[in-house]
Amino acid sequence: MFGSIRHEPQDEVEVAEIIRRAADRFSPLRIEGGGTKSSAGRPIRADTVLSSANLRGVTMHEPSELVIQARSGTPVDVVQALLRENGQDLPFEPPSLSSLYGARGRPTIGALAAMNLSGPRRISVGAARDCLLGVRFVNGRGEIVKSGGRVMKNVTGLDLVKLVAGSWGTLGFITEVTFKVLPSARASGTLCIEGLSDADAIEILTRAMGSSYDVSGAAHIPEQDMDVPAQTLVRIEGSSASVEVRANRLRALLGEGRTVLSFDEERSAAIWSGIRELAPLRVRSDEVVWRLSVPPDRAAEVTAFVGSKLEGARWYFDWSGGLIWLALPSRTETEYNSVRVVIQKVGGHATLVRASEDVRRSVPVFQELPPALMAITAQLKNAFDPAGILNPSLMYERI
């Protein structure tokens, strides 16, 4: 941004000094990692950027303890490359969303934690927040705070790790994160049934998830045009013998006379990285994108409603139907609100993931909270950032 000030501190002590000075002057700070998601969230007014660009490096990695610690500005790909050398990975399969936002930079590990970003495997191993063992952060007072640690089990004191995960930098500037990691699967495969309606597909996916075969991906991509039929996809991972055994049992469980295709490892990997990065949506530049989190058994109801009300809507399902990615042509405000209306009926929440700055200014990006919950949320913000300088109004008007 022209004329803006940019801080790229070298360590957390310097971060603390910058934040303390900003708090004294009530001068807002835009928190930045790799800068790949600067058009996510509500537009904020802050001329000063506080970047984690110089807070780089893996600070600890113990493969036999399944744990890795890195400074917040470390690119995710650096962390993953190191893990993969040891046959491990971040379990929750983090999306980069780089193609969605048309960004060229490298997403950072700190932003992963701050945005609680999880991919298809979230349904079997939990979200980023579930794998986040510890954080160090600087709060809005300029104090260096730690919570959690490096061990798998830790119930000592209030779990501020969970609170900071998914707070989009509004509670503190994360300086270091510690993640639980898991061995990468030796083998994987995907089963596919073609031509199902949304409702039938969700039925199949919930049946697969309710089986004892450790399904690690459950998605449905509706028919895109006459050439590409709807695909209902179920992934299994593990040792190669185990994948084969479970694939056979699942085929019997889900097939019921239908043809069940099997995709090999290579094709499987391509499919799920596509699902992770919204490839099936083929988003056009003039479209807005929503992310809906709903109870799986209500998912088909949601898309039926959206499809009947909003012309040109396209979508696909991940997380056994619990996650719906939705693309819409640009709309009037009333039409945007119908997305939230249906969510209120079935439970869950909708996030406006990509839209123009104008739309993000007038339409709430995050689902609005009931008044009592909003009051608690505002007080928590105040408990961490009393001057209100960290990413002000990025999540909600007062948050």
Binding site: V67, K153, L160, R246, D297, G347, F384
Partner: protein, 480 residues
């Protein structure tokens, strides 16, 4: 000895009026104010500490919990929430000027949704009853503390409880989707639900493990999981603790995550075997229980791999369970370890977690520390995740022995923090570890936690004697 604050005399003076008022807020049979009946609630599983509460209410609905909390808030009366009273950390120990809100009458399963893999339950239901309710459908609730027969889901949420199988399935916070939370002013709030993740801040994550200090959970939506087709444990006995510890690191380092990986030392094996007749090897210094699950084909392959890896560390005995009866006996022994120890000795149970690479060093230091106090220790713990449970044995009838045991325990917990671990892995801080919090946290860390706490309970009415050291407590004003 751990300090429990002296009661507020102005509250005790008003006791008759408070009792009179509270009795009207709950149904007949849900209110206790007579001495003998109150005594049932004077302690939990940390039995060395006792305080008879001012009164006990046993609400049957969320609305009753709300009206009792609103009354206590308006009248400045302290509140201690109680599930089944199985806390080893003193999390449910009351004080003389506090009202206990017991959730034991709210013990029903409200609904089960197999398609979403969720169950909605009341907070007073026992952990095991949830698994039993969904068992016929082939499902279970994963966190399985040893006390699962008695402990309640509400208590599990308060302490973010774990168990033997959380190596694969995670602890309570990873299996919790939603709660009904009642705030100190009586506000009833819904967090989460049948969907994943939340808009805004992750209050569900903050509530879980908050030890009854932020509000009272009356209902919960928990994740249920389809049980594997089969599960089979194996027992691996070793001549030294170091060899057993190295085998643990080698198994996990090879990319195998068993569903459970438990450790018992010679003393723990002897005590437990004498009680449970689980078929444990008696000629070894350390034993691992390694359980794998899946289809029977998968189990055979995985156990063979594990035994191969372990063989590099020269196990003295290897025994694979041959069927459901043997498997049940193996787990019965492990889950009865605390109880069996209690039959032969008084003990305190520690709960620190360490990085698993530090296992051999910490076990050696544990032996030295305990020997210096001339006490005995039985080590039983979750080796896969480094969550230690040294049981420090002592004789309460010998003057000074309990104090010695407490002092030894304190040294062990400091050791856990020193090597990169924490004070408590699954039991919670309660009163037991309250005064050690500064070993793990700076005052700045604690202040930030207390500022978050103050948002929910600015006057320290909810379970106030717990978690945070009694000095330098921070009270901030609510902002409007």
């Amino acid at each position: 000895m751990i300090e429990i604050p002296a009661p507020d005399l102005t509250i005790l003076d008003r006791r008759p009026q408070i009792i009179h008022d509270l009795e009207k807020l709950v149904p007949t049979g849900s209110f206790i104010s007579s001495g003998d009946e109150l005594r049932v609630y004077e302690t939990d599983a940390l039995t060395a500490y006792r305080r008879v509460p001012l009164a006990v209410v046993l609400p049957t609905t969320t609305e009753q919990v709300s009206s009792v909390l609103r009354y206590c808030s308006e009248n400045g009366v302290k509140v201690v929430a109680r599930g089944a009273g199985t806390s080893l950390a003193g999390g449910a120990i009351p004080q003389e000027d506090a009202v206990v809100i017991g959730l034991s009458k709210m013990n029903r399963v409200l609904s089960v949704n197999y398609r979403n893999r969720t169950a909605r339950v009341q907070a007073g239901i026992t952990n095991l009853a949830v698994s039993q309710a969904v068992g016929p459908g082939g499902f279970f609730y994963a966190p399985d503390p040893s006390s699962q027969l008695a402990c309640s889901i509400g208590g599990n949420i308060a302490m973010n409880s774990g168990g033997a199988h959380c190596l694969k399935y995670g602890v309570t916070t990873n299996n919790l989707l939603g709660v009904t939370l009642v705030l100190i002013d009586g506000t009833i709030m819904e967090l989460g639900g049948e969907h994943l993740d939340s808009p805004g801040y992750d209050l569900l994550g903050l509530i879980c493990g908050s030890e009854g200090q932020l509000g009272i959970v009356t209902e919960a939506t928990v994740r249920i999981i389809r049980a594997a087709e089969n599960a089979r444990p194996a027992l691996l006995g070793f001549d030294t603790a170091e060899a057993a510890g190295a085998a643990v690191a080698a198994i996990i380092g090879a990319g195998i995550i068993p569903v459970a990986l438990e450790y018992m030392d010679r003393t723990a094996i002897e005590i437990t075997e004498g009680y449970a007749k689980a078929g444990y090897p008696l000629d070894v210094e350390a034993m691992l229980i390694v359980e794998v699950e899946g289809t029977s084909e998968e189990i055979d392959v995985a156990l063979e791999q594990i035994i191969n890896i372990a063989s590099a560390h020269r196990p003295r005995s290897v025994k694979v369970s041959r069927g459901a009866v043997e498997s049940a006996a193996i787990w019965k022994g492990r889950k009865a370890a605390f109880g069996a120890t209690g039959r032969i000795s008084d003990y305190i149970c520690m709960d620190g977690t360490i990085p698993t690479g530090q296992l051999p060093y910490v076990l050696q230091r544990t032996g030295e520390i305990i020997a210096a106090y001339e006490l005995r220790v039985a080590n039983v713990f979750h080796a896969g995740d480094g969550n230690l449970h040294p049981l420090i044995l002592f004789d309460i009838n010998k003057p000074g022995e309990m104090e010695k045991a407490e002092a030894a325990g304190e040294e062990l917990l400091k050791l856990c923090v020193e090597v990169g671990g924490c004070l408590t892995g699954e039991h919670g801080v309660g009163i037991e570890k309250r005064d050690l919090m500064r070993v793990q946290f700076s005052q700045v860390d604690l202040d930030q936690q207390m500022r978050a706490r103050a948002v929910f309970d600015p006057r320290w009415l909810l379970n106030p004697a717990k978690v945070f050291p009694l000095d330098r407590r921070l009270v901030t004003q609510r902002v409007s």
